[in-house]
Amino acid sequence: MTGCSGGTPVSEVRGSLTAIGTPVQKGPIEAWSNAWSKELTATSLNYSPDGSGVGLTALATRQAYFAALDGPLTAEQQNQTKDVCGPAGAFSVPVSVTSIGVALNNPSLRNVKLTREVLAGIFSGSITRWDAREIADINPDITLPSDDIAPIVATEPSVETEAATKYLSADPAWTSGVSATWPKTDNGNTVTVKKHSDLADKVDKTPGGIAFMDLGSIGSRFETALLSFGGGYVRMSKDSAATAAQEGTTRTLPTGVEFTLPETSNQGYALGVVGYQAFCGKYSNHQLSTLVKSWGTFVLSSDGQVSSTYFASVASPSEEAIRESKKLIDTIGDAQ
């Protein structure tokens, strides 16, 4: 039955979805939301990128219908959602892979290769110039500028920093371990910004700047370093990120589907963050469960994944991960 506003006919899938979660998924969720609402015009999505933990709390306190997370749901977290989501609690599925690149601001640096050891030296303050011997040794064909290196880091904790320090910690030269915040160094050239989203502007304004940033922020704005993941040096791109994602491993657990990027890859670019979304198994009414199921199905569909790859520069999880995740989304129902 329609009101007097006229408009297009009423669809079965309709209503407003509210979600809270990680800032990393802001871009992909915008892309999915635009495409989903274009297809299903009587739907809308409100997403607030307030953080993965905030999203999970919101889901567990009836303040969100799904949460966008930086990692898979743990058993303990699942237990916290049982009051709201029914006896089985919530589950999480991988929805995107955000690649993290090393952005450079130095016009003389083209196709420069950097190893974990060199990056560890740069970000811990032991390598301070672009023409340092350690960099020259792995870039014999490049004339390196005799400029200072300015490592640029965000002071707020973030999953991107965690992914970068995890990548560095695979080399003994990095002694600070895996952390969501960058360790403080004595390097006077280090530049800090408050938020991760401020990095791109700061790199742009800082000659000699270098920073770990996501592919969407890097775009065509900055040159990136070629990194090695056990094979040859790989340039970060949508294709190389997709190659690495297809080599990832998938596990189906009671808490949902877990997807891990490979440690090593010959041709894939395996430095990234896997984004998850957590849904309830049961929702309070049929309209809501239909709406959430429609969202989850669209996000994991080929149309959804193409949208996020094209508009937000994120890669898809592997086909297996998508297939397993779709099975879980299909189980979403209502309590009535």
Binding site: M1, T2, G3, C4, S5, G6, G7, T8, P9, V10, S11, R14, G15, S16, T18, I20, S37, T41, A42, T43, S44, N46, Y47, S48, P49, D50, G51, V54, T57, A58, T61, R62, Q63, A64, Y65, S284, N285, Q287, L288
Partner: protein, 556 residues
């Protein structure tokens, strides 16, 4: 020269204290009040009609920030006054509202896309009444306006409920505008002030009355408070004549304090300008009156409640995140003084928005309408310059200065927390006060009654009707077929991409008729015994009537 209607009102029977016994005097006062109601009610009815037609002509959610305010209104009417802990997020406060209200954002397929008709918006179901999470960026606003406006959503559903909410909002605005007009009507020399008030009723003012947003109430209450205060100050020696004005000031002041936190600033500006029109002795005199003191005390209670709400919201549970772009526009480092200068630099840029930029700033009125109203405003300003002694101009120029400076100061103060957010509609309370001040500055000038004056007034009023109707139908065009590179008026008839309730054709005819009715009422008031459109028989019919007897005679 005092005209018949003015003379009758300035010396009403029994209005001189002490010349009638008690009962008769009470009767005289009630007659005065009845006279005011006799003016207030038709003006309220006409303004309500005009605003309601704008409500129907504006697609749901085609009004700035309407989704957030609609959700807030539905929540407040359901008792959700305060955001609880864990309910405040970066994009706004979460509330529980019926699903069709929570999903009003789905209507937003056409804003900012001027070529796109509003027909893309989905129908709003009547039976989606399950409570669901709604998000509102107006979560911390004073609940007074929202509680009233949200009431229809308790007894209705779907699009009719939202239209009803709009109509409640529009009626509130119409009531305050009508109270303001009535206060001016009760002045000893009301004609120029009323003309100025009519000029201040731009297409934008009527459009703003059409949506769910306290912006319009803020403008209307500021106008009413200002006009009411002027009428009270003018009658400082005979305050028994100004009781409706006293009440208007009290109610408008308390309403303003409970509309938006900045509204009290407009009240202060209005009070400053109003006081500048009178002597200090007049201002002091009104505070010796018991009714004034009682109403002031009651209004103060309302003001204190409004201010208390603002302090209460400073202690509201913290938001879990930062406001996204669109709600907050902080970009780069702009110093407050630079923001102030930028605003001063743009002072005249906002004039277009005072006259008419409907929708989400995506439905401007035609340039011809902008030109016509600009002409009226400049004409008014030039005429004020002719007023002597200069002292009478002072309040008007202060009002103009406040219109330029106060928004600049407020924007400068907000620059580091919200970025550049100022729009012309925010300054409309000051614009309205400034335009009416022009009329007040001219109030002692004789209002010409010669045929030439009548002809000029007739031309201007008919042109004003055409401008209002042209603005109205052009905004409808934006929603019915979109504004394209080439003229597309004919497609409004052939392939309309959207139709408002009653169809755009009926709304346009009704609006034109209503605005003509307003103009003819104003003309008849300004020129008693005359009508806007001459009541002469059609020339051809007259000629035929003259010829007929001759022809009959010839035939006979």
């Amino acid at each position: 020269m005092i005209h018949a209607t003015e003379a009758a009102r300035t010396s009403p029977a029994g209005s001189v204290p002490g010349d009638r016994p008690g009962k008769a005097r009470r009767f005289a006062l009630s007659a005065t009040t009845r006279g005011g109601m006799g003016f207030f009610l038709p003006v309220f009815a006409l303004l309500s009609l005009l605003i309601t037609l704008w409500i129907l002509a504006t697609p749901l959610m085609a009004y700035p920030d309407e989704p957030s305010h609609t959700i807030k209104a539905a929540a407040v009417s359901r008792g959700q006054f305060f955001p609880g802990p864990g309910e405040s997020f970066g994009h706004g406060v979460h509330v529980q509202v019926p699903s069709y209200i929570a999903n009003v954002q789905a209507q937003m397929c056409f804003p900012f896309q001027v070529t796109k008709p509003a027909g893309c918006a989905p129908a709003i179901p009547l039976d989606d009444n399950d409570l669901t999470i709604g998000v509102t960026s107006a979560g911390l606003y004073n609940p007074f306006y929202y509680w009233l406006v949200g009431l229809p959503s308790l007894v209705m559903s779907g699009a009719p409920a939202i239209y009803a909410m709009r109509i409640v909002s529009g009626l509130l605005s119409a009531a305050f505008y009508a109270a303001g007009f009535t206060a001016l009507y009760r002045l000893r020399h009301p004609k120029w002030p009323l003309v100025a008030a009519a000029i201040s009723t731009t297409p934008m003012v009527l459009f703003l009355g059409s949506g769910i947003n306290p912006n319009s109430l803020e403008i209307a209450a500021s106008m009413a408070a200002f006009c009411g205060l002027v009428s009270v100050l003018e009658n400082s020696r005979h305050l028994e004549r100004a009781r409706p004005g006293i009440l208007t000031v009290g109610i408008a002041a308390a309403t303003l304090a409970n509309t938006r936190n900045i509204s009290l600033l407009w009240l202060l500006c209005g009070a400053i300008v109003a006081c500048l029109f009178f002597r200090r002795a007049d201002i002091v005199a009104i505070f010796r009156n018991r009714v004034v003191l009682v109403v002031t005390a009651l209004a103060t209670v309302g003001i204190v409640l409004g201010v208390a709400w603002n302090f209460l919201m400073l202690r509201a549970p913290a938001s879990a995140g930062e406001a996204p772009a669109g709600i907050s526009n902080v970009a780069g480092e702009v110093r407050p003084y630079n923001a102030f200068l930028t605003m001063m630099d743009k002072s005249f840029d906002f004039v277009g928005q005072y006259i008419g930029v409907a929708g989400w700033l995506d439905a401007p009125v035609p340039q011809a309408v902008q030109m016509f109203w600009s002409m009226l405003l400049i004409g008014l300003m030039l005429t004020v310059m002719l007023v002597r002694p200069y002292r009478l101009q002072a309040a008007f120029w202060v009002a103009v200065a406040l219109l330029a400076v106060v928004p600049a100061v407020v924007q400068a103060a907000l620059i580091n927390t919200t970025g550049f957010i100022w729009q012309g509609r925010y300054s409309l309370p000051l614009f309205t006060i400034a335009v009416i001040s022009a009329g007040l500055a001219m109030r002692f000038r004789p209002f010409g009654q010669r045929p030439q004056s009548m002809t000029i007034a007739r031309i201007l009023l008919v042109a004003g009707c055409v401008a209002h109707a042209y603005a109205f139908v052009n905004v409808l065009r934006r929603y019915v077929v979109g504004i394209q590179e080439t003229a597309n008026w004919q497609t409004m008839f052939t392939v309309p991409g959207w139709q408002p309730p009653l169809t755009w054709e009926v709304l346009t005819l009704a609006f034109t008729a209503a605005v003509l009715l307003c103009a003819s009422k104003l003309f008849s008031y300004l020129f008693p015994g005359h009508t806007l459109l001459p009541k002469r028989p059609w020339p051809s019919r007259t000629r035929r009537a003259r010829k007929r007897p001759a022809a009959e005679a010839a035939a006979g």
